[in-house]
């Protein structure tokens, strides 16, 4: 008995030791783009889209679980593995796409920072440069452990959405029904919304980030069971937060008058009838999500690229030792923040582009992941089970289908935006 207790204590200790990567990835997933998508879904369609969260959670868990397993077993990043197994050219193409897609993602994050702080009456010409510098400084001068602690604390701030969800007093009965009742409509904008929900929840950068974070954390195959639990809890948290954002916008905006919203600021202002607090909480949540993702994305991109292409990387190296790493990191932040400050910059179009690039990249990333995780030489006894493979391939097929649709509508959207 005492032995059992000791074993149990050992596992609890390991769980807390491996906590971090899964939570952080899952939560960064609800970044500025995600919040806008969920708000839009709730504002335009009310409680109807809630059912999608269940299948999205399943797919999210499957892809994230594969990444963290690969990280724990091989102790190598995803871009490392792609390079070693598929050569330099493939890696180069993937990394180029990843940089372009993430650049536009980071722009969206800085846009989120600008618009959320404008609700607190801070001009973007002040907030964006300060935040950009803070983000840059945090990673370059802080150490990973303290940065991770800051991130884990930031996860807590997402509770603001849960509170705003309650503040607007939504119709909980409706919400409960539509959470489990799928509604399919052959309405172009409804389908578009569904695609958008899936697209923002499962992004290529997450796979690279999560695997790298698991490696960085030093999670080993032996501790993997605990890491898997962490990943699953993280994914569930993502969906719970998404649920409350949709519910809040459904209760506040859709219940009054269903309409389209274009950015997070509009969503927050929609909560106004329910008191200043609801607005401020929503805005605080948006700011937190944006700056959180803005801290993670540039660093993760620089790491993936440098590891895949074989450049020196790491924040513990000096600028002279790892020039490509630092230049890439600095440019990603500088360009994205600079663009937000440019008047008349076609930001909306850039975000559509980023969705297209993400969409092109994602199927490749997923296919490489499945091929790698079934490689016996790399994974030993940790390859996918037959059932896991079946679900994973099904996910890939569904994702490719949805992505093609998303790319098609985004390109169409660009055409419209241009016209």
């Amino acid at each position: 008995m005492a032995h059992l207790l000791k074993r149990f204590r050992y596992h609890i200790a390991i769980f807390f030791a491996v906590i971090g990567p899964g939570f952080i990835t899952a939560v960064v997933d609800n970044d500025s783009g995600g919040i806008v998508t969920y708000s839009q879904a709730g504002a335009r369609w009310g409680y109807l889209p809630l059912w999608t969260l269940l299948p999205i959670t399943v797919v999210l868990i499957i892809t994230q679980e594969m990444c963290s397993r690969m990280g724990a077993v091989t102790e190598k990043g995803l871009s490392d593995l792609i390079r070693e197994e598929y050569g330099l050219r493939v890696t180069f193409v993937m990394m180029t796409l990843l940089v372009l897609a993430n650049l536009t993602n980071i722009m969206a994050e800085f846009a989120g920072i600008a618009s959320s702080l404008e609700l607190f009456h801070v001009s973007r010409y002040i907030s964006v440069p300060i935040c950009a510098f803070a983000v840059w400084f945090l990673a370059v001068k802080g150490n990973y452990r303290s940065v991770e602690k800051v991130f884990l604390f930031a996860c807590v701030v997402y509770v603001t959405y849960v509170i705003s969800g309650f503040l607007v007093k939504p119709d909980w009965k409706e919400a409960a029904i539509y959470t489990v009742k799928p509604v399919l409509m052959l309405d172009a904008s409804y389908i578009n919304m569904l695609i958008g929900m899936v697209g923002t929840t499962i992004a290529p950068w997450m796979q690279f980030y999560l695997q790298a974070a698991v490696v960085e954390k030093g999670v080993t195959a032996k501790e993997y069971a605990e890491s898997r639990i962490e990943v699953i809890v993280g994914c569930l948290m993502t969906s719970v937060i998404a649920f409350f954002i949709i519910v809040a916008c459904a209760g506040a905006i859709w219940a009054v008058h269903p309409r389209d919203i274009n950015d997070g600021k509009e969503a927050a202002l929609g909560l106004k009838p329910f008191g200043e607090y609801a607005v401020l909480l929503f805005a605080a949540g948006l700011f937190n999500a944006s700056i959180f993702a803005a801290s993670v994305l540039p660093l993760s991109t620089a790491y993936s690229v440098c590891e895949g292409m074989g450049f020196e990387s790491g924040v513990n190296k000096t600028f002279r030792e790892a020039p490509v790493f630092y230049w890439l990191y600095t440019l990603l932040i500088g360009v994205s923040a600079g663009v937000i400050l440019m008047p008349n910059f076609p930001l909306f179009k850039m975000i559509l582009w980023s969705q297209v690039l993400n969409g092109i990249l994602l199927p490749f990333v997923l296919i490489f992941m499945i091929l790698l995780i079934n490689n016996k030489r790399l994974m030993n006894e940790w390859t996918n089970s037959r059932a896991a493979n079946a679900i994973a391939w099904l996910t890939v097929v569904v994702m490719i289908g949805l992505t093609l649709a998303l790319v098609a509508t985004s390109i169409k959207g660009m055409g419209n935006a241009a016209g």
């Binding site: 091989t74 102790e75 190598k76 330099l88 180069f92 030093g218 074989g310």
Partner: protein, 417 residues
């Protein structure tokens, strides 16, 4: 050919011509046979139709950017040969260790040196691996390879600075021990590195490669490198090794570090390793394992020198001569009574100023500073700061001397915060 070098990206897909100057195929890979020669390309694998032919280096008369000319017609089909280190398959895109630059690098391309050898009948060309290419210039070659003519790539790459590692400084890490033997790969070069550099490199590698290195290098070097890592990494490495190998390494570590590393493991694993250790080391380490990690007992080590409090300076000198291995980190000699209780401590430097017959007791520092085994590590750190000491004796409840904490242990504690 005027140039005396060739890149692997250029060699790949180079056409191969037979004696009648008919093209028989293109180069698909090239291989060393390290047991025969460490850097000469021994075989060229030529794709002809659906199968591959194996061409030996002495069946070739000329190698150039326009193709390879054979001097022999008797070619054999290629079938997987375990003694070959194939450049395309085993080297390109993989991680190797740059022993001189002390880092892990990824291979983008390989530069060969082209040599014209006077043969029995006529001279023939041979290529040797000269260096392994990393950095932008070789990335450019890889990206353009096949799409742009070879000569043009040479011109295009000119403005980009080369970045290469001489083949002599490259250490390939092979996880499979059998293959390691067949390919004559050793990790000897790694033993020449500073343990701290080795530790940093090993942390960048995957678990299989890590295990391979720790299994093959000298256990003393392994112990030193292991001591430079954080206890989590130590644990994961020790766990991956065979208990005997792990025990050999742990024996070479200082007892307090060994205990810390073993303390991170699951009890079963650490017991297995302890079982394999020699009796003396085993007792010391298992005693230390009993203490809570963040107390004086968990920090201390048992590498100290103690004498009865009736001893003289001359006795101390004899003892120092007999225990030379302890000298490096020693600055206190501890005095104990007949029951092993701590009664005093003498600074090593004092011995030089005193006559041989002087009683050590009379040289002892006053007051005697010591700490109990259960003192929390924060308090221990405070003591070091307050009294500016380098070594702190640790005693148990009966004031019996149990070990010492040295300043380097405290620095590790502070750094972990």
């Amino acid at each position: 050919m005027a140039e005396s070098f060739l890149y692997f990206t250029e060699l790949l897909n180079l056409p191969v011509y037979d004696l009648k100057h008919r093209r028989i195929g293109r180069v698909r890979d090239a291989a060393l046979v390290p047991l025969v020669h460490q850097s000469r390309v021994d075989r060229f694998l030529v794709g002809a139709g659906s199968s591959w032919l194996s061409v030996r280096y002495d069946q070739i008369s000329a190698i150039g950017l326009s193709g390879i000319q054979l001097s022999d017609e008797k070619l054999f089909p290629y079938h997987s040969d375990e003694y070959m280190l194939r450049i395309n398959r085993d080297l390109l895109d993989q991680q190797i260790i740059d022993v001189n630059g002390r880092k892990v690098v990824r291979v983008n391309d390989v530069t060969f040196e082209l040599q014209r050898v006077p043969g029995f009948e006529q001279p023939f060309d041979q290529i040797y691996i000269k260096e392994v290419d990393i950095g932008l210039r070789s990335i450019l070659r890889r990206l353009l390879q096949g799409a742009v003519p070879r000569k043009m790539i040479r011109r295009l790459q000119q403005p980009v600075a080369p970045n290469s590692i001489p083949w002599d400084f490259c250490n390939i890490v092979e996880a499979d021990p059998q293959r390691r033997l067949r390919l004559n790969i050793s990790h000897d070069k790694l033993e020449l590195m500073h343990p701290a550099d080795l530790a940093e490199i090993v942390e960048e590698l995957g678990p299989a490669e890590r295990e391979a290195i720790f299994e093959t290098i000298d256990s003393e070097v392994a112990a030193e490198a292991l001591s430079e890592m954080d206890s989590k990494t130590q644990a994961s490495i020790l766990e991956s090794l065979e208990p005997e190998v792990a025990a050999d390494i742990v024996e070479e570590m200082s007892p307090d570090e060994a205990a810390d590393a073993l303390g991170e493991l699951e009890e079963e694993t650490s017991q297995e390793i302890l079982e394999e250790m020699e009796q003396e080391d085993k007792t010391e380490v298992s005693e230390l394992l009993e203490f809570e990690e963040d107390t004086a007992g968990g920090l201390m080590n048992t590498e100290y020198m103690s004498l009865p409090d009736t001893a003289t300076v001359a006795d101390a000198m004899v003892m120092l001569r007999e225990n030379e291995e302890l000298l490096e980190n020693l600055n206190l000699i501890l005095l104990v009574d007949a029951d092993g209780r701590l009664t005093g401590a003498v600074h090593l430097a004092r011995l030089f100023l005193a006559a041989g017959e002087t009683l050590l007791k009379s040289l002892a520092q006053d007051p005697l500073i010591s700490a109990p085994v259960d003192m929390p590590q924060e308090r221990v750190t405070e003591l070091f700061d307050k009294y500016n000491i380098f070594t702190l004796p640790i005693v148990d409840k009966q004031r019996v001397l149990s070990g010492v904490i040295t300043a380097d242990d405290i620095i590790s504690v502070l750094r972990q915060k």
